[in-house]
Amino acid sequence: MIPILLGVTLITFLLFNVVGGDPALQAAGRYATPEQVQLVKAELGLDRGLPAQYLFFVKQIVSFDFGRSWSTKQTISKMIMDGVGASLSLTIPAFFLTVFLSISIALLIAYFRGTFVDRAIFVICLAAISLSSLVYILYMQYYFSFQLGLFPISGWSPDWLERWEYLTLPIFIFVSISLGGSVIFYRTIFMDEIFQDYVRTARAKGLSHTAVLFKHILRNALIPIITIVVIEMPALILGSLLLESYFGIPGLGGMIFQALQSADFPVIKAMTFISAFLYMIFQLISDVLYVVVDPKVQLK
């Protein structure tokens, strides 16, 4: 893992400090004189050699001190800490609600496989995933918030209890967007399992369909379920760009979007590294969890 991590830092560094344009020009402002640009270079440590700049970047990572944003002049670490709570309060409940609902529906379809219920739900799910997520956001915000007045149009509260008022509709939209694809995914997993020999054996022993579904199929399907749940975690931490932007949720998704728009390299660089790091960490966690749920799997 350490070599991969070093590789990630090196690639991130090369992308931002070597390949791109001169970051000091951006940081110094449009009409800065060459002297001012030089001062900014010194301030950002860009007047040093590349090895020294790379070591400085590694030091920033280790100390979780990525300096300040060029655009907002805020401490990047604080921006991340402020944003992560907002992002997670949207994505975590939305994601687990999606997982719960989609597994439930997928089990239902598996139970009624080959019937009208199965086909109807499958078609609905297909239709649901063919729509752009922007369509869900625009229409649901318009109808539920504006026309029906059920939810605030957008907004946020730093208070954990009060913020649910603002989060309910974005969570509902998140679930709506994700549900179709998830149901089809879990249905496929359950269908794969349903025709396995152990299922036939269980049935031959006289177990009911439902008992087979919950006691055997669901348990054996845990590996792909864990894979998808754990691998999604970094994306949940990094927030939902569109939902955050449309509903005024001050999370990391919006922060990354603004950083991209304003070419705020220190923020982009920090988030690029953090994303890669999170994916690695959660990949490791999923490997460990495989051992827990499946005795046949061993860590070597």
Binding site: G20, G21, D22, P23, L25, Q26, G29, R30, Y31, T33, P34, Q36, L39, V40, E43, R68, T72, K73, Q74, M79, L97, F100, L101, S104, L107, Y111, L138, Q141, Y142, S145, F146, G149, L150, F151, P152, I153, S154, W156, P158, W164, E165, L167, T168, L169, I171, S208, H209, T210, A211, L213, S245, Y246, F247, G248, P250, G254, M255, Q258, S262, A263
Partner: protein, 593 residues
């Protein structure tokens, strides 16, 4: 039996999901906003920070201007814009040579309470606060984008900057051009006449910031506000909303002098009353157009700009659409004090030595379509570099070379030596890689295509765009300039040779006669003589066309019937301090929404 039991499990699962959804919905029952609060609510883009010297964007300036105060300000209602004292106790005394400006400041003005002061109580504003703040603006270590305000204009400033650059401890050394004979007098000594000085002292970059706060918060000043402005910072959830509360001790009063029609619109009813009128001002930081628009329609915000996609629904025949008017919504139109233009790189031999090629490009440009397609009709065709509403603007001035006439353009192209575009190399039009900029470039490509000129669109990132402008490595590009202050000098500076890249003269135009007039105008006090000089410079630019003036945009804002005293203006950044909310009317009108 077992099967029944497991089915129950399923039912329990679905029932759980159902009740969870219901519970979330119940929690979410939209709380009715307190319509009885005397609050002004505005949708805004994301704020960068609150330190006057560290943030130069328009959104942040609009908020900073309400937290901090400046020496001078513009009369809120009067047009053309006229400067008046704000923290200054009267207009400055200016020496005959225009080099020494003596400014008295008002007494009894206090900074807002803050932990940085002894006992947490804000202390009285003194003249030294201004000098400290201006030195901070010019501190090379802070690299403020606002330094250009004083750059090359104040006696001894360059030497002081060099000393500070060498050793930060030299910050406390005096700047000969910034003097404070006593705690209520400031003397500014200029190294050359600069009659726009009073305009720049109305800009938020120059607002006084107490040293105690800077010492305490350092770089974190971006998150604190310790000013003397009409409002004080209550709370700020970054990227969500900022809330300001009324400063009960604010010194300002509502203006008694208005422009034509202001009295009829009720804008003078509060003349002489203490401001601000609202108890709280909330800026919702929203980046997407739909929530901005829906919040306004719902009455959750009081004043709004009109998002591009909602323009046709909001405006009919340059007035509020009837359905909105029936709900009490009103429109305010204001000049943008700006210029959009096409810029040639005059160092490129192709353009430098061929004025007819520049004429051909100018006459091929379909500006009407630009205004309709890109500005929803909110703009006028520019005739020169000087926008309307400025004193030296001449409404009768027309530049025939800016008329969209394809046949005439073809003639000029032939005179330029490229009949039908033959022999002319493909032009490169540089844009940033945003979709709007690309669409603008495509229109340029189409316009020139009519003449047989091939145009390659070069879309680059913003840093690359800046780098190429700075290095003078581009051929043609589109640009816009918004006034820092209402004086034609601010626009004519775009063509002054000493402002060539990396300065704002990105066309790198150099014309000795123009430069001579520019310098002469700088030495001339405001008045007809200076306006005549401005117009001579305008004529040179119209003849030479190093840039092709395209449009002057117009700002449209909508406000609800419960808002009074609102008069939009992009230069008056602290305008919300004058706005009043009729709370009972809001309750009544919101029922219609």
């Amino acid at each position: 039996m077992k099967r029944v039991f497991c089915s129950s499990n399923l039912k329990v699962g679905f029932a759980g999901a159902f009740f969870l959804s219901i519970a979330l919905s119940l929690i979410s029952c939209t709380s009715k906003k307190n319509n009885l609060a005397n609050e002004l609510r505005i949708a805004s883009a994301n704020l960068k920070g609150l330190d006057p010297v560290a943030t130069g964007d328009e959104t942040s300036s609009n908020v900073i201007a309400l937290l901090y105060d400046t020496l001078f300000q513009y009369q809120y209602l009067k047009r053309p814009l006229t400067i008046e004292p704000n923290l200054a106790d009267g207009m400055p005394q200016v020496s005959k040579d225009g080099l020494v400006h003596t400014i008295k400041i008002k007494k009894g003005i206090f900074f807002s309470d803050d932990a940085s002061f002894s006992g947490g109580k804000g202390r009285e504003l003194v003249s030294q606060d201004f000098v400290y703040s201006w030195k901070r603006l010019c501190d090379p270590r802070l690299a403020s984008e606002g330094f250009w305000l004083f750059d090359g204009k104040v006696e001894g400033l360059d030497d002081w900057r060099k000393a500070v650059q060498k050793d930060g401890k030299n910050f406390d050394a005096p700047v000969p051009g910034f003097q404070t004979p006593d705690s209520s007098t400031i003397v500014i000594k200029l190294s050359r006449p600069f009659y726009q000085l009073h305009n720049i002292l109305a800009m938020v970059y120059t607002a006084p910031v107490p040293k105690e706060a800077v010492d305490k918060y350092g770089k974190e000043m971006v998150n604190h506000a310790v000013g003397t402005g009409p409002f004080r910072l209550e709370s700020w959830t970054r990227n969500s909303q900022i809330s300001l509360v009324k400063n009960p001790h604010y010194h300002g009063v509502y203006p008694s002098v208005g422009d034509t029609g202001d009295a009829e619109k009720g804008r003078l009813a509060m003349a002489g009353q203490k401001i601000p009128f609202v108890d709280r001002l909330i800026f919702y930081e929203i980046v997407e157009d739909q929530p901005i628009w829906l919040k306004f329609l719902k009455g959750d915000t009081d004043i709004t700009a009109i998002p591009k996609d909602n323009f046709d629904a909001a405006i009919k025949n340059k007035d509020v659409a009837p359905d909105l008017a029936a709900k009490g919504v009103k429109l305010d139109r204001a000049p943008g004090y700006d210029l959009t233009y096409t810029s040639f790189n005059m160092l490129d031999p192709l353009f430098k030595n061929n004025v007819n090629l520049r004429y051909a490009v100018a006459q091929a440009q379909d500006t009407k379509t630009t205004i309709e397609k890109f500005q929803n009709g909110r703009g006028i065709e520019a005739q020169s570099i000087i926008p309307p509403e400025l004193e030296s603007y001449d409404p009768n001035f027309k530049n025939a070379r800016l008329e969209f006439k394809v046949e005439k353009a073809k003639e000029y192209l032939a005179i330029a030596g490229y009949p039908g575009g033959k022999g002319l190399p493909e032009l490169e039009y540089m844009v940033t890689n945003s979709s709007t900029a690309r669409q603008g470039a495509e229109l340029f490509q189409t316009d020139l295509g009519r003449l047989g000129i091939k145009v390659k669109i070069s879309a680059v990132s913003w840093p690359q765009f800046l780098e190429r402008l700075r290095d003078r490595k581009f051929q043609v590009t589109g640009a816009a300039w918004v006034a820092d202050y209402p004086d034609a000098e601010n626009f004519l500076a775009l063509l002054y040779s000493k402002n060539a890249s990396p300065g704002p003269n990105n066309s790198n135009f150099s014309n000795p006669e123009f430069d001579k007039l520019f310098e002469q105008a700088a030495r001339t006090p405001p008045g007809p003589a200076r306006n005549a000089l401005y117009q001579k410079m305008r004529d040179i630019s119209a003849e030479q066309l190093p840039i092709i003036p395209s449009t002057h945009r117009e700002g449209y804002s909508l406000y609800h019937g419960w808002v009074t005293n609102y008069k939009a203006n992009s230069v008056i950044v602290d305008r919300f301090k004058y706005v009043q909310i009729d709370v009972p009317k809001r309750t009544q009108l919101k029922e219609k929404l």
